[in-house]
Subunit: 301 residues, 2 copies
């Protein structure tokens, strides 16, 4: 268990995209720079999506341009289609993320097409990325449950994951979008998917809606998974999931990993400072238990 884990910080994109209050380009760049300063290397920084549909991500081109020259870091942007791809490339993107759902109900509600249609849509994006030497990460949402279809069987996830792998994604991130997973199911899912896509290419993207995320991550680590998506301060959520809790908090993940002897290179005090500042900007307290405890400790002196 003590080998290394790669953290993909998704706060500036998956986090902020699902927060009510939009954050300015300038403040998003400052947030990303604070995350870099705290020791995070792989950061999802924006999405080239419709500004009408997702106003929180307006200016992602400027954000990406603002940070892209930080040496030694990797910046991801979400790209739904060729138009988005062109804009991402024009801003210097070297890694993009595409997404599909494991459940038909969520695919319909979220992007108004079937799972198969969504895959057809991003096939040309992946083809162009390949030709341009741009790496592509694949997200699968609703891997442990869907707000519309309920239970999601591992086979549905395996099918989409295999397709993403075959299409050339360097990594497939398994999203428990509404946070309904529990440890054994998370572990069984990883085992099933690893039968089609090597475990080294799988990432865990778990939300903490019901407080299960860390337990699920630990269970997934036992199964051999070594890539974790998380968001500083537990930013984000899902329009179809209840409550204010979104992505598992990077602080809480780091605390667990360090306690398990897995060095993360993250400076917790700096990370909490970054979280506090972005929390101030969006006007809600951090959803990270570690941040809350450290802030309380700070107030006690």
């Amino acid at each position: 268990m003590s080998d290394s884990v790669r953290i993909v910080e998704v706060g500036p994109r998956d986090g902020l995209q699902n927060e009510k209050t939009p954050v300015s380009v300038e403040d998003r760049i400052a947030f990303i720079e604070a995350l870099i300063g705290a020791g995070l290397h792989t950061i999802e920084v924006g999405a080239f999506v419709s500004p009408k549909a997702i106003p929180q991500m307006v200016g992602s081109d400027q954000v990406l341009r603002g940070v892209i020259d930080h040496v030694g870091n990797e910046f991801h942007v979400l790209v739904p289609n060729e138009k988005g791809y062109e804009a991402a490339r024009a801003s210097g993107a070297r890694v993009i993320a595409v997404f599909a759902s494991a459940s038909e109900g969520f695919s319909r509600a979220n992007i108004n097409c079937s799972v198969a249609e969504s895959i057809e849509r991003f096939k040309p994006v992946i083809a162009r990325a390949k030709a341009d030497g741009v790496r592509v990460r694949g997200y699968i949402s609703c891997v442990l449950g869907c707000p519309f279809d309920g239970e999601v069987g591992p086979q549905a996830v395996v099918d989409v994951a295999r397709t993403l792998g075959d299409l050339g994604c360097y990594e497939v991130s398994l999203g428990d979008t509404i946070g309904v997973g529990t440890p054994l199911k998370a572990r069984q899912l990883l085992r099933a998917v690893a039968g089609s896509v090597p475990m080294a290419k799988l990432a865990m993207h778990f939300h903490d809606t019901y407080g299960q995320a860390l337990a699920n991550l630990y269970a997934g680590m036992e199964e051999g998974c070594r890539v974790i998506d998380s968001a500083a301060g537990g930013l984000g959520g899902c329009p179809y999931a209840p409550g204010a809790t979104g992505n598992v908090a990077t602080e809480d993940v780091v605390y667990m990993l360090e306690g398990m002897g897995v060095a993360t290179g993250v400076d917790m005090a700096k990370l909490v400072a970054a979280t506090n500042e972005i929390s101030r900007l969006i006007g809600r307290p951090p959803a990270s238990r570690v941040a809350s405890a450290m802030n309380a400790k700070g107030r006690l002196g």
Copy 2:
């Protein structure tokens, strides 16, 4: 993993004892009855301690008398000394809990004596309980870290656990009082202690200060532990731990167990209702992620 787990609900004692706002005897009885109605069977209901030191537990005799006749349930009360034991017995107690620390620093700060002295103090209590046919549960605090001494090695816990087992405690509950544990350490601790006290006699009592409790419980379950202490709504805390988060929330534990195929018999809606009412009384929102999510869902309709 799918065998049964016993939950010890500690909200009315360990939870409320560490909340700033005292709750009346009448409201505590109503809370306990709501917990029984939600399907919880083993409940820690009070403490026979100094009313000056812990005003939140004043009237524990009336609370115990008020609930003791509920058939099919087991009620625990904390007893620090012979005086407390006599009062507990006079109120009908059939199960008592004694407590010691795994760390000298916490023992000094909390009860102003060494660990060895604290054990000497409750030896006569255990002797009388034995003679009276009263069962005794033993708590060990600071098993994964101490706010004064820092790291606590497994051997210190093993020593206290063995003593409690030898003295006749039917169960030894391992308390991560300040919630600093992480999964591997929790698992290693259980393995170490189970070398001296059978696993079937061990309970996990983990606080969620840093969000680690569910992951730690899952890790402990993998090691074979099948008894979990938790508090409805995540009530409680520790005077020496930062932040508002206390015991792991019963709701979050039940969610994990049910998701793992472990039937708990708990009616989640009723449990959240009990949590909401006690949270209203103490004037703070539930620290349970499940309760928060379910309340948000309820507001959405």
